[in-house]
């Protein structure tokens, strides 16, 4: 998402239920999910509500995953793809079903580093704020993404 863009994130019990299952969290019985707080990493699922999220296929646009060819984008993809380097969440209060959050993103720092396993690394920080309809802060997310010069060496 870009700066100054606002995303409305309606928090639904079913979304939280499926999210819990996907991280293997069965601490809340399926019959008690209506009021249960979302797991602390749930805020990133705002991606579902970002109309321009770059890691979701969109009608009429090339997609870099495989189909007839290993990638749907002509030639070799521009980079080995960004990887997630760090993620931090801070909560003023828990996120619960029924919340309707307004999410904004501010740019953070950027820096470079050399790595033996992946070449030049470009780090980019992004800070997202999640606010309730009254404008009160609910959660802050700080993420650091790293773009590698080449795929990370597995040896």
């Amino acid at each position: 998402m870009s700066q100054d863009e606002k995303i409305i994130f309606p928090v639904e019990a079913t979304h939280i239920m499926m999210f819990r299952r996907s991280i293997g969290d069965y601490s809340v019985p399926d019959t008690g999910l209506e009021d249960a707080a979302a797991p602390p990493t749930f805020p990133r699922a705002v991606a579902q509500f970002d109309p321009n999220y770059f890691l979701r296929m969109k009608p009429g646009e090339a997609w870099f995953g495989s189909g007839k060819n290993p990638s749907g984008v002509d030639g070799k993809p521009g980079s080995s793809g960004g990887l997630h380097a760090e993620q931090h969440f801070e909560f003023v209060r828990p996120i619960k079903p029924g919340d309707v959050l307004t999410v904004t993103q501010k740019p953070g720092k950027t820096w470079e580093k050399e790595s033996k396993r992946a070449g030049k690394l470009l780090f980019e920080e992004a800070i997202m704020e999640y606010r309730d309809p009254a404008g009160e802060l609910v959660c802050t997310s700080r993420s650091v993404r790293v773009t590698t010069e080449r795929p990370v060496d597995q040896k």
Binding site: P39, T41, Q87
Partner: protein
């Protein structure tokens, strides 16, 4: 079972098996719920033939989400005040992951009892895959 303040001491260690033999299907499940459909996590052909990886690997956020269970299972998701990690190694299908949290402090702040913990997840080779911290509110 939720822990109460009088059951927590500095140095207490909580350990859980987060996943055994991580399945590609779980990566697909996480893509579906998080909205992160990066083919690096679901598309072996793309990984091998276009991106230069041996195959799909887990979303960092899936590993972080699994590691968070060590905290939320004991203190409740509604009580987490802070949770942060660095992703230090990739996680692959077939991996076994263990989560560990160690109590670093139990303190009072603004009328609440808080517990500070370090959080790590480690694979079957002993490599740390995420390393971080959490702070949770505790019932007295």
């Amino acid at each position: 079972m939720r822990l109460k303040a009088n059951e927590i001491s500095v140095g207490d260690t909580y350990e859980d098996k987060l996943v055994e033999d991580l399945k590609r299907t779980q990566l697909v499940m996480y893509s579906g719920t998080s909205g992160d459909y990066n083919p690096l996590h679901t598309d072996d052909v793309y990984c091998r033939e276009a991106a230069g990886y041996p195959g799909v690997f887990a979303h960092g956020m899936l590993t972080m989400g699994m590691a968070g269970r060590v905290i939320t299972d004991r203190f409740g998701a509604e009580n987490v005040k802070k949770f942060g990690v660095r992703f230090t190694n990739q996680v692959w299908p077939g991996d076994d992951l263990n989560g560990k949290a160690v109590v670093e402090a139990v303190r009072e702040e603004a009328g609440e009892t808080l517990v500070d913990l370090t959080v790590t997840a480690t694979n079957q080779k002993g490599d740390v895959v995420v390393s971080g911290y959490a702070t949770a509110r505790v019932d007295r």
